[in-house]
C-alpha cells in the first residue's frame, strides 16, 4: 500500500522534536539548555535520553510534557503540532523523579485521578483503575494512602497513574534513581514488561548508561544541550561517533595515532588497522588481551590491578607513556596471573579497534 511521505511519517513517529532551542534567562546571562536538538521517536519504542546531569535531557522531556515552552523549534505528537499546548491538553503523561503522588488520596484515587479530571463515568474509572492495579500488581494496597508505601510501591503507583489515561507517549524522568540497586534491577524488568504489555511509547530519561543499554530500543546520547548520537544500544557501544559518547558509555581506551601506510601508527611505532576515521584510536578494555611480552608487537608494564569480582582491571603503561586499561577475565581461583611491575604484551581482538575524531 503506497502512502505519501508525510502520512508515513505520521504513522511511524510518536513524537518528534524539530530544531529545538531552549534558553533559560535572557541576554548575555542566558543559559542554553538545548541547542538545536532534533529527534524522532518511533511508535512503540523504548527510547532513552542519556547524558550527564545538566546535559538538557530533562529539559527536553519537560518540553515534550508541556511544562516548558521552547525558545524555538516545534514538537509534534502523532504528527500534530503541540509545541504550545499546555500539559493538560496533551495525550502525554509523565512519571516524575519524585513520583509526585497525591498525599491526600489513596492508591486507587491516585490512579483514577486523570480519568476523574476528564469526567469519565464512575464505572469506567473503577474498571480502568482495577486493570491498572492488576498491571502493576498493587491490588492489595489499593485503599492505602501513598505515604504508607515503600519507594518501590510508590513507583508502581506513579506508573499506573500515568498509564491509566492510556497516553500516546509515556515520559519517565529518572524514575528509578531513588531506588536501591536491587529494587532498581527489578523495576527495570518491570518497566520493560509494562512497555511490552501496553505497547505505549516510552521516553526514558537517565544518566545511568547501564540502565540505558539494558532497557532501550534506541538511545539518544546528549551532552551540553546537544544531541551526540542516536542509535541502538549495540551501535552506541560498539561504534560511538565521538570521544564523549565513547567515554560516557562504558569504559574506553584512547590512543593517539597517526595515519601510516597499511594502517595507523601508534606512539611506539606499531601499525594497527582500524575502522572509522580520525586521529584517536579507541578500544574497549574487554577487547584487549594480555599476552606474553616475548614477540608481542605492543608491550607495557603493569601499573596496578583493581579487583571487581567478576573480573580484574589491569592498568598497563605502554612504552610511550600512554595508559591502557585491560579487563581480565578471572579463573575460579580469582588470580589474574599478573602482578604490578610485570612486563606484558598487549594484543587487540580483531575488529575491536575503532577510530574517532579527537
Amino acid at each position: 500500500m503506497m502512502k505519501t511521505g508525510r502520512l508515513r511519517l505520521v504513522e511511524e513517529n510518536a513524537i518528534e522534536a524539530q530544531s529545538i532551542v531552549k534558553a533559560f534567562g535572557q541576554g548575555k546571562s542566558a543559559l542554553l539548555a538545548l541547542d538545536d536538538v532534533s529527534v524522532s521517536i518511533r511508535k512503540g519504542e523504548f527510547f532513552t535520553l542519556l547524558g550527564p546531569s545538566g546535559c538538557g535531557k530533562t529539559t527536553l522531556l519537560r518540553l515534550m510534557a508541556g511544562f516548558e515552552m521552547p525558545t524555538a523549534g516545534t514538537i509534534r505528537l502523532d504528527g500534530q503540532d503541540v509545541t504550545y499546548l499546555p500539559p493538560n491538553r496533551r495525550p502525554v503523561n509523565t512519571v516524575f523523579q519524585s513520583y509526585a503522588l497525591f498525599p491526600h488520596l489513596t492508591v486507587r484515587e491516585n490512579i483514577g485521578f486523570s480519568l476523574k479530571m476528564q469526567g469519565r463515568a464512575k464505572a469506567e474509572i473503577a474498571e480502568c483503575t482495577d486493570r491498572m492495579l492488576a498491571l502493576v500488581k498493587m491490588e492489595d494496597l489499593a485503599e492505602r494512602k501513598t505515604a504508607q508505601l515503600s519507594g518501590g510501591q510508590q513507583q508502581r503507583v506513579a506508573l499506573a497513574r500515568a498509564l491509566a489515561p492510556q497516553p500516546k507517549v509515556l515520559l519517565l524522568d529518572e524514575p528509578l534513581s531513588a531506588l536501591d540497586l536491587k529494587l532498581r534491577k527489578e523495576m527495570q524488568i518491570e518497566l520493560k514488561r509494562l512497555q511490552k504489555e501496553t505497547g505505549i511509547t516510552f521516553v526514558f530519561v537517565t544518566h545511568d548508561q547501564e540502565e540505558a543499554l539494558t532497557m532501550s530500543d534506541r538511545i539518544a546520547v546528549m551532552n551540553a544541550g546537544r544531541l551526540q548520537q542516536v542509535a541502538a544500544p549495540r551501535e552506541i557501544y560498539t561504534a560511538p561517533v565521538n570521544r564523549f559518547v565513547a567515554s560516557f558509555i562504558g569504559e574506553t581506551n584512547f590512543l593517539n595515532v597517526t595515519p601510516a601506510p597499511g594502517g595507523f601508527r601508534l606512539g611506539n611505532g606499531e601499525i594497527v588497522t582500524a575502522e572509522g576515521s580520525g586521529g584517536v584510536l579507541t578500544v574497549r578494555p574487554e577487547q584487549v588481551r594480555i599476552v606474553s611480552a616475548e614477540g608481542a608487537a605492543l608491550t607495557g608494564t603493569v601499573d596496578s590491578l583493581v579487583y571487581f569480582g567478576t573480573d580484574m582491571h589491569c592498568h598497563v603503561r605502554l612504552g610511550d607513556g600512554e595508559a591502557l586499561t585491560v579487563r581480565l577475565p578471572l579463573p575460579p581461583c580469582g588470580e589474574a596471573g599478573v602482578s604490578p611491575g610485570d612486563r606484558v604484551g598487549i594484543a587487540f581482538q580483531p575488529g575491536a579497534t575503532r577510530l574517532i575524531e579527537a
Binding site: P86, T94, F96, S98, F102, P103, H104, F113, S114, K145
Partner: protein, 305 residues
C-alpha cells in the same frame, strides 16, 4: 525490673510532676479558676445593683433565650437576643469567608516567593499587630465616616453626589473585623502552603486537570488543615469581638461581646452575663471539636496530625 530501676522510675516520675507544677498552677488558677467563678455565677440570682445574691436560680440561663413579661411574668422568646446571636454568628462567618478570600491569595503569594524574601513579607503582614486594636479600629472609622477618606474619594470621582452613610452598620463592623483578623488567617494558611509540594501542581496538570480542578482537587484538600486553623483563629475571636462592633457598629448593632458587657454594666444582670459567656464558650468548643475532627481526617493521609 530491678529495685534500683523501679526506684529510678518513681523518682523521675515525681520529678516530672514537680517540673510541670508551674504550668499546672497556671492552668488551675488562671484558666480554670475564673471559668469556674463564671459558671457558678451563672446559676445565682441577680442582685438589685449588680453583683449576685448567693441563692440558686436558673434565671440567668433562661434569660439567654427568653424574657419574662414585666406584667404577668410569663416567658416569651427574646427576639432581641436571638437577633444578637444571629448577627454575631453570621458576621463572624462572613468575616471568616472574607479573610479567607483575601488571605489565601496573600498566603500563596508569600509562600511562593524565594525563601529569603518570605520573612520580609510575613513581617509586613504582622505589622498591624504592633498598634493597639482600639487605635486601628478608630482609624478604620476615620476612613469610613461621612467626611472620611472613602466618601471624599467617591465624591471627588463623581460616583456619588452626597456622602453615603458607611459607618455604624453591620458592613462597617464586617470591614473592621476582616481588617483586624486578616493576619490570623494568612499565617496558618502560609504555613500550610509553604509545606505544599509544588511538584504536585505539575503532576495534576499532566493528568489533565484544568486550573480550577487543580485548585479544587489538589491544592485545597492538601492545605485544608491550614484553612481550618485559620478559620478557627478568625471565627473564635470574631464571635467574641467587643471593640470593633462597639466603635464601628455604633452601639445599636450589638454582638455577643457587647451584650455580655451590657449585662455586667448598665443591665446589672450578672447571672445572665455569666450564662451568655458560658454559651459563647460552648459555641467555641463546638467549633474547635469540628476543627480537630476535620484536621484528623485530612491529616491521616500525611502520616502526621
Amino acid at each position: 525490673m530491678s529495685k534500683a530501676e523501679q526506684r529510678h522510675r518513681r523518682r523521675s516520675a515525681r520529678n516530672g510532676w514537680l517540673l510541670s507544677m508551674p504550668a499546672l498552677v497556671m492552668l488551675g488558677f488562671a484558666a480554670s479558676g475564673p471559668l469556674l467563678i463564671v459558671l457558678v455565677y451563672s446559676f445565682l440570682q441577680k442582685g438589685d445593683y449588680g453583683n449576685v445574691v448567693w441563692e440558686f436560680s436558673p434565671d440567668g440561663w433562661i434569660g439567654i433565650l427568653f424574657t419574662r413579661d414585666i406584667f404577668d411574668g410569663t416567658l416569651g422568646l427574646a427576639d432581641a437576643h436571638l437577633t444578637i446571636f444571629w448577627r454575631s454568628v453570621s458576621l463572624s462567618l462572613m468575616t471568616t469567608v472574607i479573610t479567607f478570600a483575601l488571605g489565601f491569595p496573600t498566603a500563596w503569594f508569600i509562600a511562593t516567593r524565594p525563601a529569603s524574601e518570605r520573612a520580609a513579607w510575613l513581617f509586613l503582614v504582622t505589622i498591624p499587630f504592633w498598634t493597639n486594636l482600639l487605635i486601628r479600629t478608630f482609624a478604620i472609622g476615620e476612613i469610613l465616616r461621612t467626611e472620611g477618606l472613602v466618601n471624599t474619594l467617591l465624591l471627588w470621582l463623581g460616583v456619588i453626589n452626597a456622602p453615603v452613610q458607611l459607618l455604624y452598620n453591620d458592613n462597617a463592623v464586617l470591614v473592621g473585623m476582616a481588617y483586624v483578623y486578616l493576619p490570623l488567617m494568612v499565617l496558618p494558611l502560609f504555613a500550610a502552603i509553604e509545606r505544599f509540594d509544588m511538584r504536585l501542581l505539575e503532576a495534576a496538570y499532566d493528568l489533565y486537570a484544568s486550573r480550577m480542578q487543580v485548585l479544587l482537587h489538589v491544592i485545597l484538600p492538601i492545605v485544608k488543615p491550614g484553612i481550618v486553623a485559620g478559620s478557627i483563629l478568625v471565627f473564635v475571636p470574631s464571635l467574641g469581638a467587643y471593640v470593633t462592633p462597639r466603635i464601628l457598629g455604633g452601639g445599636k448593632n450589638m454582638m455577643i461581646g457587647n451584650f455580655i458587657e451590657l449585662q455586667f454594666g448598665q443591665g446589672r444582670n450578672w447571672p445572665l452575663g455569666a450564662a451568655l459567656s458560658m454559651t459563647l464558650l460552648l459555641i467555641v468548643v463546638v467549633a474547635l471539636l469540628f476543627y480537630v475532627r476535620a484536621v484528623n481526617r485530612a491529616g491521616s493521609g500525611h502520616g502526621h496530625g
